[in-house]
Symmetry: C3
Subunit: 135 residues, 3 copies
């Protein structure tokens, strides 16, 4: 099982970013290549200087657990998990070219975690026959 | 790589509809068959006469980027992307029979983009061993 | 086609829980093993005594259809669908160990629908080459 795990990362709340980071790190720890394509709100969270900001939680977050989840996922902890995943294995993070265009961003506007910009076709080709998650 | 890309399309906000449409168009451009199963809020967005309405954005949408994303995705632009994807390749859009029942809809209530009504079992069988995304 | 269908169940609103339950039941009916990993808000919905509570709907729920969707999915109907899926086939529900830690939960705090606690690595290994959905 050395198949790629690919993630279309669309959401930009801290809880979903952390879930994506944990799924990426787990795959990397198993020696599987990981490919992440950033769209819309996720892309915005990866803007330079924005990673450690408060990105809120999903609208459904319960009052009872929000503080605990934010403490684990927030303040850029998800980005730290991704940084560790990159040290652990092959984790490639690409900004979706269409989303870059919509949000009027250049690669120099993005955090150094982002390895490049690519289109949806390249994403599919790199995914091969491996699993794709939309988060 | 001629494997089917299947999408369970649950969400009905313009940003997620556009993301799904772009992922469908990209797969169609690569010559891969695309199967979309419409549930709940996505199904509602595909009601006849409703496609070009304002379906809002995800709750997490940032103030800074909402206008740009809505301009690209809204006013039925996602449906136009799907129409182009259908011209480009094999894109089949089915309404989930259970969701049709819950929302008390008949196929004649839906936009002509929708090719038919099917159950979850048919969806899995048509997906074969290809990837499935839940959006 | 006896490949496993795996679901990372992150969301805890009644509409998404019901969608996940229907996708699990459909796969079970086709004889396919189903593996569900509960994270964050989904995990909270599976707390003992909490299943039949009102978990709300996605933020995008339309006024026109909320009552119909809540009637079908709410009051623990999604859990009933999962119970039936377990009678029908092989449906295994695991709590994500990291989310258990964040929410300070023990397995004894969870509904009997949950079969155990596991990490992301085990989840991937059990998923094999089968499809993975993130809901």
């Amino acid at each position: 099982m050395d198949e790629t795990i690919s993630i279309v990362l669309f959401s930009g709340t801290d809880d979903k970013l952390q879930s994506a980071a944990v799924l990426a790190a787990g795959a990397a720890a198993l020696g599987r290549p990981v490919k992440i394509l950033l769209q819309y709100w996720a892309l915005e969270a990866f803007k330079a200087g924005n990673v450690a900001a408060d990105h809120g939680l999903s609208a459904e977050a319960s009052e009872a657990s929000s503080a605990a989840v934010a403490a684990r996922a927030g303040k850029g902890n998800w980005a730290e998990t991704l940084r560790q995943a990159k040290e652990l294995g092959e984790v490639d993070i690409q900004a979706c070219s269409l989303s870059m265009d919509v949000l009027k961003l250049e690669q120099s506007d993005l955090d150094s975690l982002v390895d490049g910009v690519e289109g949806v076709a390249s994403f599919y080709i790199n995914a091969g026959e491996g699993q794709i998650l939309f988060i």
